[in-house]
Symmetry: C2
Subunit: 452 residues, 2 copies
Amino acid sequence: MRVKVTLDPDDMPRNWYNIQHDLPEPLPPPLDPETLKPMSPEPLSRLFAKECVMQEVSTEEYIPIPDGVREAYLRLGRPSPLYRATRLEAALETPARIFYKREDLNPAGSHKPNTALAQAYYHSKEGTKRLTTETGAGQWGSALAMSCALFDIECTVYMTRSAFLQKPYRKTLMEVYGANVFASPSSNTKVGQKFLAQDPNHPGSLGIAISEAVEDCVTHDTTKYAIGSVVNHVLLHQSIIGQEAVEQMKMFDAEPDYVVGCIGGGSNYAGLAYPFMREKLRGKSDAEFIAVEPKAVPSTTRGEYRYDFGDTGEMTPLFKMYTVGHTFQCPPIHGGGLRYHGKAPSMSMLINKGYMKSVAYSQNEAMDAAITFARTEGIVVAPETSHAVRATIDLALQCKQKNETKNILFNLSGHGLLDLKAYEDKMSGSLVDYAPDDATISRALETLPKVS
Amino acid sequence: MRVKVTLDPDDMPRNWYNIQHDLPEPLPPPLDPETLKPMSPEPLSRLFAKECVMQEVSTEEYIPIPDGVREAYLRLGRPSPLYRATRLEAALETPARIFYKREDLNPAGSHKPNTALAQAYYHSKEGTKRLTTETGAGQWGSALAMSCALFDIECTVYMTRSAFLQKPYRKTLMEVYGANVFASPSSNTKVGQKFLAQDPNHPGSLGIAISEAVEDCVTHDTTKYAIGSVVNHVLLHQSIIGQEAVEQMKMFDAEPDYVVGCIGGGSNYAGLAYPFMREKLRGKSDAEFIAVEPKAVPSTTRGEYRYDFGDTGEMTPLFKMYTVGHTFQCPPIHGGGLRYHGKAPSMSMLINKGYMKSVAYSQNEAMDAAITFARTEGIVVAPETSHAVRATIDLALQCKQKNETKNILFNLSGHGLLDLKAYEDKMSGSLVDYAPDDATISRALETLPKVS
């Protein structure tokens, strides 16, 4: 039985797919953080590469992947293989067929280089000397540090202090690639100083780290800011995942009935899902799309669809998205990439309009599935990815109950080799589950500006 | 410019290549550890799978890869891509062309599954219920634990106590795959108890861990022992690396002038080198073969070619090989996979007869090259592999000096994501170099039995 399909390097897709071409209505515009009025894209070019700002608002169906990005993709793991999980299927005794796309097979270990390489490439073309960014668990920071090394750009990373202390080797990895890594909140920025004054050992948050990276950017010449999720151009770059998977599912002679992925900001799942969603939006597919979030940060399952800031320091534009509020304190789950208050605007719209569903799992439920997956398929997935594995297994067990031969495709967004503490905690029974109470979420949502 | 070639899964080689078919003379026989007389292979089947014992003494040129092993190879990263290091070449300003074979792209992160999967497969066919083994840095233990999970065999790993304490996540990884991991010396075995009596905090050694794994095997029914390097059948299984690389170098339209790899027991380098060595042994190639060892354990550069035990406890057969003596205390270098007193008998013969050269580097020299490699090619290699990178860079710089366009091929035997401490120590300037003095080596060699 076929367990793996690859694509020849020459057959790697030549275009990214832009979901904005097919959305049921245009995305609501971002709002200026000072005036709360709709903002034009131009000011974003103080932060992002000009090409990325154009992509941010483009409604072209396809955007060509530049040769320099293609070469970097080829060098670093693309095209990535697509597998059939025959051993997991057998262990579950399910008639369902389970497929997974491997985004763990590049040196940074996750899907993040798909956009990090693209952003670094555009910045190198536009003369950017230094990039700033934030990172939580470190996947994004590692990807950007690697990409900056390849395109000869300096890299400054603000890493949430809790992760900086708990995951020293992610920091080391970024430093191997030549990046400067600071624990956030740091004394480098005014916003960092403010939080440090409140608590010299402040554990930080992704929202605060974003604020610091943006402030560092706007207060320094020839410095720009790179972003790892949420915004349109990042999701565009990630579409290479699904563009490949569409071809590879054909090689398996199968169409997915379910497309599954975990969501933090939404970029890995959008990357896999959107090229399949294209067909659904055109009425040509009945596939179901299942976005999986942690119960600890339940943006889409318990939050609201409304305008919110992208960061804690209220420096970024506001986006219309599912959010639990930018002041929500994300609990310290191991899947640090899922510890973000909001979700990508395009994905939020698709969930709100019923094109996608979302479900939530605790980290014990998720890591339990990860161990089953490791012992059957041999791969140790990231704690973030374990949420997608859990949902996949539950769908496969439903298929068993109903005796349905469905095709389930999920995104294996990253490996867990730098997150083995999550496995250790699970196996020793010391993994803590978090679920905020309603009052906590309400309080965070009350701080949001009222925008019609 | 082409940077990567892949093989279609259907084009994965169907045979392992057996160097014993082409060696200039038969390998000297192993000696019985009690009588010091040549031993027949039959007693080895108390330890190894019967099929592996037959392979151990076979002189057939090719041995077919069973379908069950092929399927596991396909699932877990094979065929692996071959890359051209164009960015490293540019950084070195060398006219040489540098190629590398990726053995880091499977879930265990090194070449070790090539034989772990094969051994576990044969054992599952022969009804083995439990496998014991030793591990130092943990690559081998991880590979066997993963393979045992896939073939439903219990797995017991004796891990040198120093690594057990220094690399807790390698232990976690093995446990994720369901293995039982013990710090060695342990109280499970008589030999372990002996060393614990000398020192309750004994740091252990690979040689002691081998003795424990063998004792655990021979004192328990339905239990066999799996081995990660040195012996013929392991090197045979690793030949899949070179079998693929031979085809892939043709796709690059290039023949290697230099074939480079690091050596601990010798298995990753033999895996890449032997299918190319085949041509040299038949007078059809002038390629140079460079085996790279650590200065801390200089078996081939400062040891002797003579009979020695495979383990510290003197329980294994004696092999004729390059050795610094089985009582030699290997210094605590990060590249734990290179901390072994002896080298594979076939490789030792090839070095002794001048078909291969060997060189030695300190870990600072090696890790320096690893950082250059990460910042140019994007890949963080294992500390073991860094020795091969160092030799490759030095060859490329020689080519620059002589203005020679040579092709250098090296084996990227594993990634360094679970060894980032080595990078941290290098970057902070705290990496210690070790080189035993002559008296230390002489003392260890003096303890060897005198065999004609």
